[in-house]
Amino acid sequence: MPLLRSPSKEPLWKDEFSVFTSDERYVTRRQFTKFLTLASLGMFVGNLWILAKAYFTKTPSFPSVAVAEVGEIPIRGLKLFAYPTPQDHCILIRTGEEEYVAYSQECTHLSCAVYFSAKEDRLECPCHQGFFSVKDGSVLQGPPPRPLPRIILETDGPRLLAVGVKGS
């Protein structure tokens, strides 16, 4: 093996990297395509992971808890309670003679406590002026991205029971 470079008209870098530019471009594009396909596989795996999470996550079971007596609070009145755990604060509102609604008190924006404005007939978050409908908890105005989680209520004789949470 000669120690010295044999005389050549070509510059050193051309001798050492004897790859045509067009060939190099072909190889790069092919590798880039492979990389894109791998990224596509990654996206697919991500979707499969969400699918697995959705199917294998157990739906939580909620306890049945008495939250108030029927007729305990006046019409347009409210009562605060905790459901399903003592850390989950909720608000129960009597909207009519026989009509009650209950929602989580945590705003879906940044978890501030919402309060009931009887004058405006809506639930209001004082932090960023997010307003929710009393009828279904949907967002009326402001930054909250989702409706308030609704507490499912049932009557059991004179008692008003919380039996589940919808949209938590």
């Binding site: 072909y26 594009r29 395509t33 396909t37 596509s40 499969l48 969400i50 699918l51 959705a54």
Partner: protein, 80 residues
């Protein structure tokens, strides 16, 4: 002869560019699909999860097919 070779290569390059563009379009759609599915999943809705996974899988198969096409076109255009 060299002219024919050059034309063959150029045609191969056009095919590869087209396939790459399609792969990029599929990938952008998949990125959007994944982020939208994740958002709906965190919001507690699971109805869109299965269709999203199916469409993402189809997009991946499309990318695979295009990748194979690119490899084949590349090999064809390099044949003497």
């Amino acid at each position: 002869m060299a002219n024919l070779e050059r034309r063959k290569r150029r045609r191969g390059l056009v095919a590869i560019n087209g396939a790459m563009t399609l792969i990029v379009i599929f990938l952008v759609a998949q990125v959007w699909l994944l982020s939208a599915t994740l958002e709906t999943f965190f919001a507690g809705h699971t109805g869109a999860v299965l269709p999203a996974a199916i469409f993402s899988g189809l997009a991946f198969l499309g990318c695979m097919a295009l990748n194979l096409l690119v490899t084949r076109v590349d090999q064809e255009s390099r044949k003497p």
